[in-house]
């Protein structure tokens, strides 16, 4: 148990390193500005949003295609499936025929749902 926690302790430390190294580059760049090696000449035109040379009309809010939500729903179903599949796959050799049949029944139900979604054209991008 202690080993287990120590592994994740190292992982926690590594998260710090993984964020720290790239973030330090931001800091170095900032230092370069303080040392006058990096220009800093702000102007209102520079701070505008990019819009192919025109002034931006409207804000960032825009309509989204409803399809994005369809895919999100499908994703949820199949990702939850993966949660069941992974432990089953790892221990499959110990579980035997019963597990095989049971998982095939589970998958078959999902496949039926998948075919239904396909037939209902939920997978089309229109």
């Amino acid at each position: 148990m202690e080993d287990y926690l120590r592994q994740y302790g190292l992982l926690f430390l590594f998260t710090g390193v993984a964020i720290g190294i790239p973030a330090s580059m931001l800091l170095v760049s900032r230092m370069a500005q303080l040392a006058r090696m990096r220009p800093h000449k702000p102007s209102p035109v520079k701070a505008q949003l990019y819009e192919c040379g025109m002034e931006t009309i409207g804000g960032r809010w825009n309509q989204f295609n409803i399809r994005y939500y369809f895919y999100a729903l499908l994703f949820l179903v199949f990702d939850v499936e993966a949660v069941f599949l992974y432990p089953w796959a790892v221990h499959f050799k110990k579980l035997g025929l019963f597990a095989l049949v049971e998982m095939f029944v589970f998958l078959a139900i999902l496949v039926i749902g998948f075919v239904y979604a396909w037939r209902k054209r939920a997978l089309e991008w229109r």
Binding site: L10, L13, V17, A18, I21, L26, V28, L97, L123
Partner: protein, 402 residues
């Protein structure tokens, strides 16, 4: 007492080295210092690998397009990535006023973090790994997904419309390709019986590329899509949405986003090399050749082989439309992944402890199944595409970007 992390690992060696200098009660200090030493080494290896990969990609793309590519800075242009980094460090830092300053800064800072974190569990050579998590592959998938969240952070934080479009596309693409990617690894798990990458390497008597051709194909395609590289680079399609999520970024912030993107390519490359190509193992030892080269060399050779494959695909296949991208994930890769699970599960059920002859039989069956499934499904899709869709009313052409 002290931590006994993964007996034969390089971490253990470094830990014993440091703990020798310290009084017994300070083992936790040795634990931290040993960890930090390996972490800094690992992080630098990732950064250097990224620089080499970026150079390689630009040179090879140049070759593919019958031009030279960068060849001025250093021998063969090898120092180009470093020159670029220096240039970007010294560029003016511009934050648009509509941007959310905190998110705008946070996104580049954490962009590369998932890549580092994922590579912590990958064995780079015999016994050379930071951690041997027992949930290795699951951890890789979970943490590897985070980089898309960072893209969304960047797109949202920019306050720019195109950036947000790019970010939503990135998320939609991730969501679609995550499913076949996750399912394609189930076959490997069935064969290996473990999620730990170290044990998966040891479980491969034959490389899983031979035993799992479908799994390899699906995983490779899905991971190209997940890191938003060509031909799936809709997220930053210049002709449609300027530059996608990094439209507003410049200077070192842009550099860090690019770093994260290029570093992200080494994650699937390392995973494919480990899971499908037997990781650090010398492929010629079973043939009776002497094992002279260090295992790390074999690992990096395999990683760069996969990276070359990614570059090749990018140079060859043109960018897809969004309906093609989505359809490919759901209608092509997902059924193939399910077929792969069914076939592999039945095979493992039949041959619990396969002999070498049975393994080769498995290879034969799996390649035939892969060929039939890929060929049959592509022909079915082709027929479906050609059928006139008279019942569907013509859709008015919309000029709106989505």
């Amino acid at each position: 007492m002290g931590p006994v992390l993964a007996d034969n690992s390089i971490y253990r060696d470094v830990y014993s080295f440091f703990v020798g200098f310290m009084p017994h009660q300070l083992w936790w200090l040795a634990y931290l210092i040993a960890g930090l030493t390996i972490m800094v080494l690992l992080a630098n290896a990732v950064l250097l690998n990224t620089a080499v990969f970026q150079w390689m990609e630009r040179r090879l793309l140049g070759r593919f397009q019958v031009r030279f590519g960068p060849n001025r800075v250093g021998p063969f242009g090898l120092l180009q990535p470093f020159a670029d980094l220096l240039k970007l460090l010294l560029k003016e830092d511009i934050v648009p006023e509509a941007a959310d300053r905190f998110l705008f800064t946070l996104a580049p800072a954490v962009m590369a973090a998932p890549v580092f974190l994922v590579l912590a569990v990958v064995p780079f050579g015999k016994n050379s790994y930071l951690l041997d998590l027992n949930i290795g592959l699951l951890y890789i998938i979970a943490v590897g997904t985070l980089s898309t969240m960072v893209l969304f952070l960047a797109g949202w934080g920019s306050g720019n419309r195109y950036a947000l479009f790019g970010a939503t596309r990135a998320v939609a693409q991730l969501i679609s390709y995550e499913v076949p990617m996750v399912l394609s690894l189930v076959g490997v798990l069935l064969l290996a019986g473990s999620l730990s990458l170290v044990q998966i390497v040891e479980a491969q008597r034959l490389p899983f590329l031979l035993l799992q051709p479908l799994g390899f194909f699906i995983f490779a395609v899905a991971s190209i899509a997940e890191m938003n590289r060509g031909p799936f680079d809709l997220v930053e399609a210049e002709s449609e949405i300027v530059a996608g999520y990094h439209t507003e970024y410049s200077g070192i912030r842009f550099g860090l986003l690019q770093l994260g993107e290029y570093a992200a390519a080494s994650v699937p490359a390392a995973v494919i090399a480990t899971v499908f190509l037997r990781g650090w193992a010398n492929p010629f030892v079973p043939l009776g050749w002497p094992d002279v080269l260090p295992s790390h060399l074999w690992f990096f050779l395999k990683v760069f082989l996969v990276l070359f494959l990614f570059i090749w695909v990018r140079a060859t296949v043109p960018r897809l439309r969004i309906d093609q991208v989505m359809g490919f994930a759901w209608k092509f890769l997902l059924p193939l992944a399910l077929v792969n699970i069914f076939v592999t599960a039945i095979e493992v059920q039949l041959w619990r402890q396969p002999t070498t002859a049975q393994l080769w039989a498995m290879v034969l069956v799996n390649w035939v199944v892969a060929a039939v499934a890929v060929g049959g499904l592509s022909r079915a899709m082709e027929r479906h595409r050609r059928r006139p869709t008279a019942s569907v009313a013509p859709v008015p052409i919309s000029v709106e970007v989505r």
